[in-house]
Symmetry: C2
Subunit: 181 residues, 2 copies
């Protein structure tokens, strides 16, 4: 399954850290690209690249990349043409449990992660509008849970995603063990 | 199961939104209290209270509360005395899959969510140091996944948590349906 993420309407300085968390969750949970619209942010891009340099670019040999775009809607239309199914995460959508099996039938997904006010056209352009609980919480958490469900919790498994990074953690009960190569 | 969250070392303005997301995830995923140390932040407290007023205070009749404390370590020691098992979320810990069944045996859990540099004593005070993947990503996502696993994905189920709020969402395929009472 090929999963790309589209983060809508990045605003500076307000979204600096939230968008970084969205990007790092995308990478750690096996997506292979994040695209963002709104304000261009070279700091956000540098953060993502720095993580890649140390911890490995992407899951299972993918090269995780970040790209800025001016128009989110144009990107969604282009992805549709390229055979991607578009899944918009919103607290107003259909529960993820009710559509996850349908989503898994598709090989290429674009997951759209909103900001505060998402224009109506995004809901219209999406093939699925899905919710991760119907309570207000966090696009970071919603993305993590959606990716977890789409990939059967692979990110948590021993022998799950391989990042092949310079740095690697050996899990331990107390303290920190970081291996480097 | 009674789950409280401890957010370490909240810093202003840097952590404003991340800590808000941590708090909202705690509430939406069924925890009943968030405690935070670091800098006092009346804006953070107001955000949590405003969500509660509109969407219902806590899951399943709980009253979700937020409390500021000066010393995280004192809180951890107090919770230990009160019979809580302390679980520290850290990318260096044992994989959540490997300890979740052990954690579920306990009725009262304090989940500790770190900030950038977590002092060694926190690792020592914790009964479990657990990781949600061994890759750098987000404490918001880590908390969501940990709560999801502890509660068997209850937050996503029809008839899952009941918030009994003034506002309620009716899931729909396009657009927004908000019911109010």
């Amino acid at each position: 399954m090929e999963i790309h993420i589209l983060r809508l309407s990045h605003r500076l300085p307000r979204d600096e850290r939230i968008s970084t968390h969205v990007a790092l969750v995308a990478r750690a949970f096996g997506a292979e690209k994040i695209i963002y619209s709104g304000q261009h942010d070279s700091g956000l891009e540098a953060s993502v690249e720095r993580i890649g340099e140390n911890w490995g670019s992407g899951a299972d040999g993918k090269k995780f990349t970040i790209e800025y775009v001016k128009s989110a809607k144009s990107v969604m239309k282009k992805y549709k043409k390229d055979g991607f199914v578009i899944v918009h995460l919103t607290m107003y959508g259909i529960g993820v449990n009710d559509v996850v099996n349908e989503m898994k039938k598709h090989q290429k997904l674009l997951l759209v992660v909103g900001s505060e006010q998402v224009p109506k056209e995004i809901y219209e352009l999406a093939d699925f509008n899905i919710s991760v609980t119907t309570q207000p919480h966090s696009e970071v958490a919603a993305l993590a849970i959606a990716l977890d469900r789409l990939q059967h919790g692979k990110e948590l498994k021993n022998g799950g995603f391989d990042f092949n990074g310079k740095l690697r953690i050996e899990p331990c009960a107390r303290g920190k063990k970081i291996l480097s190569r």
